[in-house]
């Protein structure tokens, strides 16, 4: 186990090193001169020259990469040019917002998706099943931004129940926070609910036709007990794996949703940074995300090994 851990930890270093080169290199492929993008409307040549010097834009790529890597190794991701604050501070500020959005979206997706999946499996080939399938198809094929704007028009403008956009911290006002998050969370969770519904339905259909379910029914158990206690538990295993993978997708989906609802989260941070050629923000955010993924992967591997000793090798 110890040897395994050392080996896995040692593999992280080259992985992240490779990722950092990739991020840095890909960013250079973006057309446009960051100094010109940053210099603003007047584009004073003095300012352009100053920015080039300040961010080492005149130096060869490997040298610039060296400057950045040196900072990163010292725990300094640099400062955002546009917002003029340390990138690490921005990450700490924005990440919880997006995590909250993704978790709420996941909750909504699970509640809607799994219950709809069960219902449509149990009432297979009835109007209820068809309705659930239509809902799933609609969820999958509705673009996020369009649904977002329609919901805003309905719930904020027509009915006046919810704020149209914006974000309130839960520590400031929990009710206002939930009111501002419910629409974006629904928009984000909606498509994923459809995926979950389809998977739950097929898994449930498979399990419901298995022998042990027939036995349970033959024993004279109540149908509710058969479905919820015996069938659902087995059907959910693949769905849970899918859900865990989906959380990553929701985080990236948040990019668009945050734009529509003007939520100052991680997605908005990176999109604005790309458009403004705020290189250090893009690099910092992507590197941070990559580190999180690599770490989570490691944790998953360790968990697997703990559960399954054959993998210790």
């Amino acid at each position: 186990m110890f040897r395994f851990l050392v080996r896995r930890l040692a593999a992280i270093v080259p992985t992240l090193f490779f990722v950092s080169i990739l991020i840095f290199g890909l960013q250079q492929l973006l057309p446009g001169d960051p100094a010109i993008a940053m210099a603003g409307e007047e584009r004073d040549p003095n300012v352009v020259a100053y920015l080039r010097g300040k961010f080492h834009l005149d130096e060869p790529l490997p040298v610039r990469y060296g400057y950045w890597l040196k900072g990163v190794l010292h725990g300094d991701l640099g400062d955002s040019v546009r917002i003029q604050r340390p990138v690490s501070e921005l990450i700490v500020e924005k990440l919880p917002v997006t995590i909250e959005l993704a978790l709420l979206a996941m909750t909504i997706a699970i509640v809607i998706g799994i219950s709809a999946g069960i219902v449509s499996a149990v009432f297979k080939d009835t109007p209820v099943d068809y309705a659930a399938n239509v809902f799933a198809l609609w969820g999958l094929s509705t673009p996020n931004f369009w649904l977002g704007i329609l919901l805003i028009l309905l719930f904020a403008v027509k009915l006046g129940w919810l704020p149209a956009s914006g974000y309130v911290s839960p520590f400031e006002d929990l009710r206002a926070n939930l009111a501002s998050m419910i629409m974006p969370a629904f928009v984000l969770g909606n498509a994923f609910a459809a995926v979950l519904m389809r998977h739950t339905r097929s898994a449930m259909l498979q399990v419901l036709s298995s022998d042990y379910v027939r036995t349970a029914r033959a024993k004279g158990l109540d149908e509710r007990v058969v479905v919820l206690r015996h069938a659902l538990r087995n059907a959910l295993t693949p769905v849970i794996t899918l859900g865990a993978l989906g959380l990553g997708e929701l985080l990236s989906g948040a990019v668009l949703t945050e734009q529509v609802f003007s939520i100052p989260g991680f997605g908005k941070l990176i999109v604005d940074a790309v458009f403004n050629r705020d290189y250090l923000v893009v690099q910092g955010v992507v590197l941070f995300t990559a580190t999180v993924y690599v770490t989570l992967n490691l944790v998953a591997d360790i968990a697997n090994v703990l559960v399954n000793p054959r993998m210790r090798g």
């Binding site: 010109i36 003095n46 941070l269």
Partner: protein, 506 residues
């Protein structure tokens, strides 16, 4: 006993009512079309940032709706006979948000900060200012290397914004994170890419004109969502309403709209000399092709289709309603026959070039209308939609043939001309280099005589019309929408939101 109890109850209710009235805060919530950049007047570089500064930082002078220079922190000013120095009297009794006094020394500090701070975006604007003298505690003199007529207009913008010297020295380049100025509102906090909150500055010199306790600015990029926030009551005021939303707002009794013609312009810049590419496309090589291009345009129709009528057609760097418009060069009527004739003379009956266009829907529509119009005269225009930062870079390198580009405009016409058309200036994307033109514009900077300047501008405009590095198309309306409870909004063509005298009814 009962009487006493009733009296006590009434007294309690009255007390509660009065306290509530005294403490109920008025907040004005403004929706912005973009996220402002750093809130330091010296380093700031975006249009939208100036809207926030209008509440935060007073300037030496301001402009009115007719673009006249009016007093703000300076109460009066005087040019020397040789027009090489400007003496300004500072308004007495003005304090910064940190309690520091505004005096001549503070003004000197600010002008020097604008001129010398690393990365300053004001350095170019104040380049003609050679030195600043403190004449007496409330009088300051700006000495110029050469006469420079646009100086006052510069001082009516960020170059004239005064920050607290003490706070600026303490914060260094981090000043923008917590700006300290002398405007009607002081900085409270800012969520990066989110809300900016300001609160009333109780010692503001003109506090009688201020009727809000707090102001918040919320950047909401999508115009539909911005408008939805206004309609649902989350915002009281929004700037830059989409032209397509204006007709529906006309019938909405809860919302008022306001519009005024901008000081900027929308035009098409041709690469005529910026790079080798200029000689490789017919519209860059031959001025007759550009003349034909203009002759094929129907500006009224462009305004109707691309802007839903929310702009005025124009053919110069200022709008026809502007005092500096050269009246001897009116907007030409569409003449397709003339266009064809010109193309035949130039020997290219079917000239083809690529029109680089930002990805905004306005710019896209504009490009499509123009494409269809000039096709009738024989042009084959290819539209190349390009992300904004990329397009600026391509324009700077001269890797384009024609470019749809707007300019937000400056109060003095010099701000719409010098950087854009004088040889090798930073925004001279067309590569226009005409010594005769340069001479006229340089002369226009050297005199404060309005009639003389207007004459020089008219001569320069005639040269620009001959060479056509830029074909001007129209001047957009600044479009604002706000709750009908709000009154006193004062429109100025620079697109700013001045909070003085605005009120919200309860």
């Amino acid at each position: 006993m009962t009487v006493t109890r009733a009296a006590a109850r009434i007294a309690a209710v009255l007390a509660a009512t009065f306290t509530a009235a005294a403490f109920s805060q008025t907040t004005l919530r403004i929706g912005l079309a973009e996220d402002p950049d750093v809130l330091d007047p010296t380093l700031a570089r975006t249009f939208v940032g100036r809207i926030v500064f209008a509440a935060l930082c007073d300037k030496l002078v301001d402009i009115d709706e007719k673009l006249n220079i009016v007093p703000q922190l300076a109460t009066s000013w005087e040019w020397s006979k040789d027009q090489k120095s400007l003496t300004m009297k500072i308004r007495p009794g003005v304090t910064f948000h940190d309690g520091e006094k505004l005096d001549a020394n503070a003004v000197k500090f600010n002008i020097e900060r604008h001129k010398t701070m690393q990365g300053s975006n004001r350095r170019g604007e104040l380049a003609p200012v050679a030195s600043v003298d403190v004449v007496d505690p409330m009088t300051v003199r700006l000495n110029l290397a050469a006469p420079f007529a646009p100086l006052l207009a510069q001082l009516a913008d960020r170059s004239g914004m005064m920050v607290s010297p003490k706070a600026a020295q303490a914060a260094g380049e981090k000043f923008g994170a917590h700006p300290v100025c002398s405007g009607p509102f002081k900085f409270v906090d800012r969520v990066a890419q989110g809300r900016i909150s300001l609160e009333r500055f109780p010692n503001y010199w003109n506090k009688a004109a201020i009727h809000f306790d707090k102001v918040t600015y919320e950047p909401i990029v999508d115009s539909t969502v911005r408008l939805a926030n206004l309609k649902s009551g989350q915002l009281d005021f929004i700037e830059r309403v989409a032209p397509s939303d204006m007709p529906a707002l006309k019938n909405d009794s809860k919302i008022k709209v306001a519009r005024i013609v901008e000081i900027g312009y929308q035009g098409i810049t041709f690469n005529i000399n910026k790079s080798d590419l200029a000689q490789k496309h017919p519209a860059g090589k031959d001025a007759r092709v550009r003349e034909a291009f203009e002759a094929a345009l129907d500006r009224d129709a462009i305004v109707q289709v691309a802007m839903e009528g929310e702009a005025v057609p124009g053919n110069q760097w200022v709008a026809p309603s502007n005092g500096w418009y050269a009246k001897n060069l009116p907007i030409p009527k569409r003449d397709v026959a003339k266009a064809r004739k010109l193309l035949a003379e130039a020997g290219v009956p079917n000239p083809s070039f690529t029109l680089m266009t930002p990805t905004t829907s306005d710019a896209q529509r504009l490009a499509q209308v123009v494409q269809a119009m000039v096709a009738e005269a024989g042009f084959d225009v290819k539209i190349q939609a390009t992300e904004f930062s990329t397009s600026l870079d391509l324009a700077d390198k001269g890797q384009f043939e024609a470019y749809v580009l707007a300019w937000s405009g400056r109060a003095d016409p010099d701000g719409n001309i010098y950087s854009h058309l004088v040889t090798k200036q930073p925004l001279d994307y067309s590569g226009y280099a005409n010594p005769e033109f340069d001479k006229l514009i340089t002369e226009s900077r050297a005199t404060n005589d309005t009639t003389q300047r207007a004459k020089l501008f008219a001569e320069a405009a005639a040269l620009e019309h001959r060479d056509r590095p830029i074909v001007y198309l129209y001047h957009r309306h600044w479009l604002w929408a706000y709750t009908s409870k709000l009154s006193g909004f004062h429109m100025v063509p620079d697109g700013m939101v001045r909070l003085q005298n605005m009120r919200l009814a309860r």
